[in-house]
């Protein structure tokens, strides 16, 4: 699949997820190597009212979404892949008033399971604010959850 097709598919996937629209998540980069999403800073996701630092839950949502959608980088066809588990290690708090970027890649794809890993960062990807690993289940072609969603997300890029 071409890189522009991956980008298009990732954007369509993201736009179908209502909570991600509420947070304002955007695709920053999508290639065969992995996916980067951007979580814009906003007062509504503050978790520490004294410092303005955003809530860990917003970073978890960013990383769950990034890991989940990074499956389009490796799968020839769109498949719904529910999360089996996700682990986040916080290296240091995010700085307030700055966007957070989430990068994820699929490092092992089996017929049933996709193993993903990634990290969240602000200015410098080599100084992550969090490391993440997540495991996803492949539902296969039987349960692609409504042919309509698949058609919407794959678009013309089949």
């Amino acid at each position: 699949m071409s890189e522009s097709a991956i980008l298009e598919r990732a954007q369509r996937f993201l736009s179908a997820l209502r909570h991600c629209q509420v947070l304002g998540l955007q695709v920053h980069q999508a290639t065969a190597e992995g996916l980067t999403l951007c979580l814009p800073y906003s007062p509504q996701i503050i978790g520490n009212p004294e410092t303005g630092v955003i809530h860990g839950g917003a970073i978890t949502t960013l990383m769950d979404t990034t890991c989940g959608i990074s499956t389009v980088c490796v799968l020839p066809e769109f498949e719904i892949c529910p999360t089996l588990d996700l682990r986040i290690d916080y290296m240091h708090p995010a700085e307030p008033h700055k966007n957070v970027y989430g990068f994820a890649e699929c490092y092992r794809v089996t017929p049933n399971i996709i193993f993903t890993r990634g990290y969240a960062y602000q200015d410098d990807p080599t100084q992550p604010i969090a490391h993440v690993v997540g495991t996803f289940m492949r539902m296969g072609k039987i349960a692609q959850g409504g042919g309509n969603l698949k058609k919407d997300i794959q678009g013309g890029a089949q």
């Binding site: 179908a16 997820l17 209502r18 909570h19 991600c20 509420v22 007062p43 509504q44 996701i45 503050i46 978790g47 520490n48 009212p49 004294e50 955003i54 809530h55 860990g56 839950g57 917003a58 978890t60 949502t61 960013l62 990383m63 769950d64 979404t65 989940g68 719904i80 529910p82 999360t83 089996l84 588990d85 996700l86 682990r87 986040i88 290690d89 916080y90 708090p93 959850g145 409504g146 969603l149």
Partner: protein, 147 residues
């Protein structure tokens, strides 16, 4: 802004009204988290909210929302019962998704397995229709000593 968290927690316990405590945290208000006092225990509720949907097909709540709800419940639980004078800081968080979180009310209960001087370990369970059929279990470590 300097908060007297202990005072807010005491007020909430006395009035059995946790709305003010919740409203201190914009992210908790965004999701719509509520506290329900059950005797000596606390159950947290996340009412069904279209803005929390992450799977449009089922429809189901976004896995990140379930995780954020569980993380925040654990933090509030520590604040309410462990007499910590400042905000516990998350160190790590690990969640297992057991069933789809459908578009309906979700509940969370927390169990502190160990509170040391510096670190607390909390187990968190989330369910919808039946507490014996959890939709997710999670565990988290929080730093609880001085910031």
């Amino acid at each position: 802004m300097s908060l007297d968290l202990n005072q807010c927690v005491r007020d909430a316990h006395e009035r059995n009204d946790y709305d003010k405590l919740i409203s201190l945290f914009p992210y908790a208000s965004l999701l719509g988290i509520e506290c329900l006092r059950m005797g000596d225990d606390m159950v947290f509720r996340l009412p069904a909210n279209k803005d929390n949907i992450g799977n449009p097909v089922l429809p189901a709540i976004h896995g990140g929302v379930i995780a954020g709800f569980m993380e925040h419940s654990a933090m509030l639980h520590l604040l309410m019962f462990m007499e910590i004078p400042h905000l516990p800081k998350i160190i790590d968080f690990s969640i297992d998704y057991l069933r789809a979180g459908h578009y309906r009310d979700t509940f969370v209960r927390c169990q502190v397995w160990r509170q040391g001087r510096r670190v607390a370990n909390v187990a968190i369970t989330a369910w919808q229709t039946n507490q014996t059929e959890p939709i997710a279990t999670a565990r988290a470590h929080f730093k609880v000593d001085e910031p």
